[in-house]
């Protein structure tokens, strides 16, 4: 089975200059917890609802005046849409992440693959990722 068989293809995204406030509105309206951050058609980061909690709300910064560039994760775990889901699972286990950005061979964003998506294909693969990240703490 390939990544593209399980990934979510409707992908909302933000840009590095989008404010944390606008990103929060976007996450709320589209019922997502993470947005890829895209600049000039390349994925340059990832922002989650937890990033906004810990790096904006907890620190007392203004959500309207904080661009995503300042708070996003820049080390984004990425796979190709035609990768085997076993490879994608290994990548998530190794990097201790629960979602991957999926790109095509032009490096353009085509989807996201989360453990929830993986669970539809294999309970074992999804659970092995949870076990790997649990060992961190």
């Amino acid at each position: 089975m390939k990544v593209k068989d399980l990934m979510s293809t409707v992908v909302e995204f933000a840009t590095p200059t989008t404010s944390a406030k606008d990103a929060a509105h976007q996450m709320h309206e589209t019922h997502v917890g993470a947005l890829p951050v895209v600049d000039d058609e390349k994925v340059v980061g990832m922002i989650t609802d937890r990033d906004i909690c810990c790096k904006v709300i907890a620190t007392g910064h203004s959500a309207g005046r904080t661009p995503l560039d300042e708070i996003m994760s820049k080390d984004v775990a990425t796979c190709f849409e035609d990768d085997d889901i076993g490879e994608a699972t290994s990548l998530m286990v190794d990097k201790h992440v629960r979602r991957l950005v999926v790109v095509n061979h032009d490096n353009k964003l085509v989807g996201l693959l989360s453990i929830d998506d993986l669970a539809r294909g294999s309970h074992d693969m999804a659970s092995s990722i949870l076990e790997a990240s649990a060992q961190l703490h």
Partner: protein
């Protein structure tokens, strides 16, 4: 297997009248995604990293001047610590959630049971819970 054998017992709580900013600091400092809201030993609700960031911003609340009780989830889904983990997983599936607040038979908070706790003992139960929840990317 009983819930109490695999649940996390180290649960931080928060008072209903603290600010969203204070709750965000606690969520960040203790590296947790949710806090039970407790007053005088009574469980009043749950507040998550998403509630204090995405939800609060979406409804236009100032994090410094908004109390936890205005944005918390009041209908808390619970199970008992002496219930079987299969029953607990079924409760999670039925409510599309990946975290359960665990009570003892005096209805006091005993811990949290998450899909991460289920994975090491049963890939099937953890996978089924993941598959049931609405994907939150």
């Amino acid at each position: 297997m009983k819930v109490q054998e695999i649940m996390s017992t180290n649960v931080e709580t928060v008072m209903p009248n603290v600010s969203l900013r204070a709750a965000a600091r606690k969520l960040s400092n203790f590296n947790v995604g949710a806090l039970p809201v407790v007053d005088d030993g009574k469980l009043l609700g749950i507040i998550t990293d998403r509630d204090v960031s995405v939800y609060a911003i979406a409804i236009g609340r100032d994090p410094q001047n908004t109390e936890v009780q205005t944005v918390m989830t009041k209908n808390v889904i619970t199970c008992y610590e002496d219930q079987n983990i299969t029953e607990a997983a079924q409760i999670m599936e039925a409510h599309n959630i990946r975290r359960l607040t665990v009570l003892n038979r005096n209805d006091e908070i005993a811990g949290f049971l998450t899909v991460d706790d289920l994975a090491p003992v049963s890939h099937e139960l953890a996978g089924a819970v993941l598959q049931a929840v609405t994907p939150l990317h």
